[in-house]
Symmetry: C2
Subunit: 301 residues, 2 copies
């Protein structure tokens, strides 16, 4: 088992200018694992309630996702509802029901403790650290976080950051975490907190990565029909970690390629609600977009 | 004479979180022509008042800028004062005094009417068109504009856009001009208004270009010490047009390179107040940053 993800599996109700969906499959671990499943074996550790539709579990298993760590607890599944503004750049959370997720304490099944690549999606940094304490010397670990933890659990977050190889955050979170407006300086400051690789997600503006002392800027895939951005960041992380696990190559050049695969997977995700844009891709579909992205960003001098 | 720019020459009072400057040399035609002067011959058509410091004219002439079209009118020079927010992404205009610029009607000296490359900086689209009517079959024309004209002189602006080869605007202006939130779709819509090449400036997120049916995304140069963003867009345009004029090559590949040179020139400009970051560069300084930008944006697949 190559990649382990710990995060949420949820039912999302989303409204965008282009349509709406009710209680669709969502959650960070969901988007991550579907994306990563195109590259490598992936196992999910999360919790759902007794009301969680069996068809979603079947979909994950059909994609080869290991669901042994997907615990079914008494109660209802985590639910989130949100609405996007006309340009999809602003999002309002309408409702959050933690339900079974409130008591979630990730337990890594023995069989999964030797996963070499571990992704800690955006959950309490204390829980993120408990995962790191359960796994056995992974080759590469990465985490996400958000303003809620940066503001409310900063010390715990700093302890977690000191233990991971990479952090994947959005640009406003990176600036807030660093207390620095210049994004490049902010990335360097975050790197100083522990993670050797800092990846900043900038939505339609692509991603910025700092590895060692080198910056890499990848544009977003040129999507002219963005439909629902929900899960784009977790999908990005799934493509990123999936490519690293598939290749086992942690060189700078290959980490750049991983950012490109993450970018491409996110572009499929945002074209439909839920994970619908990612359920029936071929390897050729993915490679074609990698080529397009290269064509968009390269120049000769 | 290769490149002709028509725009403003001004005295700017600028306050940033890092310092302030009083009545420093500014204006779109100034930033443009200093940047372009590193690549080709450039002539400026603008107006200043009797109070305009002779040393600024001397600086332009020392850089080889043709100032025959820089008219000195009775009255005071155009003045602008502004203040930037802590992250340099927001700017408040504190004062605008048009002064002699209020009556500016660009007259292109006969000797300059055969300039092959013409840049119409952000001025009234009626005046932009009057320039196009005075010059003799330029090879490549480009214009800038702003929300003031998009909202207040839309019909005039559309008539100008129908006559130019390229438009260089910032992202919010592109969306507003097109009435479309998706920036890629917006660029296509703007292209449909006339200019075959649409360049969207995104500040710290770089530039997006649509030429024909191909997109190109260039990251910003990784500047960790942005000091004053004033004039960055005009500087970009100067590097862009300067490279095109220097090479005389309007191929897609070379227009991409022009975007890269524009990006690099802007990076020098923002590191100091006024045009101070651009007054003593060597060709090697410029080429070095081009190489860095390539290193930042390229990946192998």
């Amino acid at each position: 088992m190559s990649v382990l993800v710990v995060g949420t599996v949820a039912l999302d109700s989303v409204k965008t200018p282009f349509g709406s969906v009710d209680e669709a499959l969502g959650g960070s671990a969901t988007f991550f694992s579907v994306a990563a499943s195109y590259f490598t074996d992936v196992a999910v550790v999360a919790v759902v309630g007794e009301d969680f539709p069996e068809e979603h579990v079947a979909m994950l298993e059909n994609r080869g996702v290991d669901t042994e760590g997907l615990v079914v607890d008494r109660g209802r599944t985590f639910r989130w509802a949100g609405e996007y503004g006309f340009d999809l750049n602003t999002r309002e959370t309408l409702d959050t029901q933690l339900n079974v997720f409130e008591e979630f304490r990730p337990v890594i099944p023995d069989r999964l403790k030797r996963c070499e690549y571990v992704f800690l999606a955006n959950i309490d940094p204390v829980l993120q650290r408990s995962v790191l304490e359960q796994v056995e010397r992974p080759r590469f670990t990465a985490c996400d976080t958000m303003n809620f933890w940066i503001e409310g659990s900063r010390d715990e977050l700093l302890r977690t950051l000191a233990m991971v190889d990479a952090i994947v955050v959005n640009d406003s979170e990176c600036r807030e975490l660093a207390g620095e407006a210049n994004l490049l300086k902010a990335a360097r400051l975050v790197q100083g907190l522990g993670p050797g690789t800092v990846i900043v997600k900038k939505g339609e503006h692509g991603a910025l990565m700092l590895t060692g002392d080198r910056f890499f800027a990848a544009p977003a895939f040129p999507c002219e029909s963005v439909f629902d951005p929900t899960g784009a960041g977790d999908t990005f992380a799934g493509g990123f970690m999936g490519h690293l696990a598939r290749t086992g190559d942690l060189s700078d050049a290959n980490i750049r390629k991983a950012v490109v695969y993450g970018t491409v997977m996110a572009s499929f995700s945002v074209e439909q609600f839920s994970v619908d844009g990612m359920t029936s891709l071929s390897p050729e579909d993915i490679e074609e977009r990698v080529s397009v992205l290269k064509g968009v960003s390269h120049f000769e001098v």
